[in-house]
Subunit: 529 residues, 2 copies
Amino acid sequence: MATDSSPTSTDFHVFDTTLRDGAQREGVSYSVADKLAVARLLDEIGVGYIEGGWPGAMPKDTEFFARARTELPLKHAQLVAFGATRKAGVAVAEDPQVAALLEARTPVVCLVAKSDVRHVREALRTTLEENLAMVADTVAHLVAHGRRVFVDCEHFFDGYAADPDYGVRVLEAAFGAGAEVGVLCDTNGGMLPMTVGRVVADVRARTSGKLGIHCQNDTGCAVANTLAAVEAGVTHVQGTANGYGERAGNADTFVLIANLVTKMGLPVVPAECLPELQRVSHAIAELANIAPDDHQPFVGGSAFAHKAGLHASAIKVSPQLYNHLDPAVVGNDMRILVTEMAGRASVELKGRELGVDLAGQGDAIGRVVDQVKVLEADGWSFEAADASFELLLRAQLPDAPPPLFELESYRVSVEHWGNGLVVSEATVKVHVDGERIIRTAEGNGPVNALDNALREALVDRYPQLAGVALADFKVRILGWKGGTGATTRVLVDTTDGTGEWTTVGVHDNIVEASWHALVDALTYAVRHR
Amino acid sequence: MATDSSPTSTDFHVFDTTLRDGAQREGVSYSVADKLAVARLLDEIGVGYIEGGWPGAMPKDTEFFARARTELPLKHAQLVAFGATRKAGVAVAEDPQVAALLEARTPVVCLVAKSDVRHVREALRTTLEENLAMVADTVAHLVAHGRRVFVDCEHFFDGYAADPDYGVRVLEAAFGAGAEVGVLCDTNGGMLPMTVGRVVADVRARTSGKLGIHCQNDTGCAVANTLAAVEAGVTHVQGTANGYGERAGNADTFVLIANLVTKMGLPVVPAECLPELQRVSHAIAELANIAPDDHQPFVGGSAFAHKAGLHASAIKVSPQLYNHLDPAVVGNDMRILVTEMAGRASVELKGRELGVDLAGQGDAIGRVVDQVKVLEADGWSFEAADASFELLLRAQLPDAPPPLFELESYRVSVEHWGNGLVVSEATVKVHVDGERIIRTAEGNGPVNALDNALREALVDRYPQLAGVALADFKVRILGWKGGTGATTRVLVDTTDGTGEWTTVGVHDNIVEASWHALVDALTYAVRHR
């Protein structure tokens, strides 16, 4: 049996399945680039395993694993491919789905196996013995090809209620063939912690292999069920970022890690990773295009916020009396105390991170803090837009360079013609070093046309812009105000082939919001690349 | 000691504090009329007690209790006023805050008492003995005035960790003076179920009074902590609607009730109330002006939604294999998501759900499956857009109605003028029943302008559109293809005041994608509302 080479999870696995089971959440649809970015972020919080998808079943996942081999150097985690046991009545070596799992070339494979007699009979429509053979054959085949194998026992707890022995036989078939972990799954999510704890304890007494737990949140107890299983002896826990998943979601990886480390004293991730939880949680929400939940335990924007009231001064004197944890431990802060002092400290910290020397720049720091407060109240967010923040910061310093150009006006149009053609066109009028430049360009959407026209207007003066291209574009509608519209936030990722940077724009009008982000993107390219 | 006169909670109390502790949630601000409406809704789900607010401390709450006497006939619940024990060093009869509690004229009063030695010393700045006297005096005074009294022991669990005896002394002071329930509060929310269960069991062994539990959700375990306390013997549980509350919120009353009744077999509300849970949950979300959480256990819009795919036929035959509960029990339903993997079975199931009779329509079903596959490969997604899916489905039936209008052309422009103004304008040219109609409108963005122009063009022929408005608008950029742009998916939520429906549009051009969703939204309003 292979040993776990991850530095921190030799004994205890944190196994994240955001990219596989979490992608079942309604409305979530990651591109391959998104999946690679999510995997990098998960690695930063020190999880031991990242389940990337189901190669073969989903073309996007096959591509993800192919690109992961060159584009995904992981520091902490091992990459895992997910798949099913061989089909009933088919030799394992001839099952194309199993072949696709090997072709993904991951160190670990996680197989899903039926462990509820009713599902074997009614969904799989095969015999209990054939299902055991399917588990054993597939595990043995993958192990023979050098893979470490984990087995998800689907519907384990419901199956245990129907027949407490069959699930154990599935586990034994898996362990006997060389599987390293048998994961007990509450697939329908209907369990409570007392039941989970009791079943895990019973199964542990009857098997000798390493056990894991996978909980859905249909009773609102996914986290507690997972912790009850840990108390009963499992040493492998599955979760998804922010609890994303089908129906009521999965156990939340961030909340699990925070509880395991800070409440149960289990160092399941490297100590230096814990303060990354909040940042990674928010960054993955951005990639999934889901508004972060302010009320999420530990990492939510309000998780340590106090309504300033009777106890404000008491909180200030003895914060530990009013917080269950020092928020900094998970990278959060106690918002009631975000005074100008705390704001200044974070601006200084951020400046240092960006390589901007702020020593002796007290006034500039104060102006940045004020400006960020005003902008964030209007919906701007610099968490994901480092390049816009750096421009804002440098604009307050004594040697701040002038803008690349002055805008006179722009016009963008979209026309749907009688012949069905849809045409976008933009004209920009700008002044560059005293010269008035007018350029018109087309695009396949209003923002693309505007981007093209602006580049054409600037490229003679700033030839380096010829090598710069938009890499991604995200739109979030904020604070819908009824029939009259809403505020729109646009994030633009830009690349020059060697690096990528992100800029932000906010406005009631999506085109104007995009314009702000585009101008920042090109300014950053000229000034700081 | 008074006896509980509520018909269903003689032994077990469900105590809802949405209107008091739940109102601590950031951004929530109820009017008095809202509070009366929330109380009526909570009564419909059969809770035993509704804590309405803090009379005296909050003028709005004083008014609420005054109006409740005539405007709030409750069927199941008793109304509760919340307040604090008398001030240190003040006679209880002379404490105006205690007088205000009596003036609220509720059958029950819930008092908050300090039960952590550090809070007594550092926040209250008094002696441990004086705090006990404050509890006993205030309870006795209220009981003497005919009130039933419950006592919330604030910070009980943190206090127990610091000094396991003092909290029990507070409970004994309360019970000795005539309090009916002593509530153990995890005020900072940092507990896990194993600790809660252990502490409750210990306290139960050392006191003879009725115990209650109040949990905050800072570890994501508020529901599980409450259930652990029930297992250890408490018979009074506190929660808030949808878990609203400070920081990560409180235990969710709806999830608690659903778990207690369906998982633990405790009939804590009358049987006829359980199917009201979903409706009441959503109605209170509306009153609080918070978007309902689709992923909320039991009552969320997605709580029983399945991405049908591979298992649609199995779900059709045996839904109980894939649901932890019959959704109808809590007033929810099993929504089948139409996804890329949709087969004939899921289309049929979905048709049944939408009330479209597909019996004998085998060809139509086949055409729908083919069309969905092609559209979803292009980035369309019907899982959140039931109205667009229903239009697509009905268009394949023999009696499909013609489109509302024929588009000749449209034009949308956004201009950023020299004076800094940003202006959006749209013109549409359409044919309605043979008549050519041209309308131009402005908006605060390109889509808003287009929506306004299209409505103006159609409203004479379809006057019902005058009462229809956009409720929300979501944009997702899919499959970015580098500098040339990307596919954009737009989801539009539309309302006519009595219901909401969602439509989808996909195109390389965000304006054209929005156009598709807008046309579906208005077509659905005319044909199916």
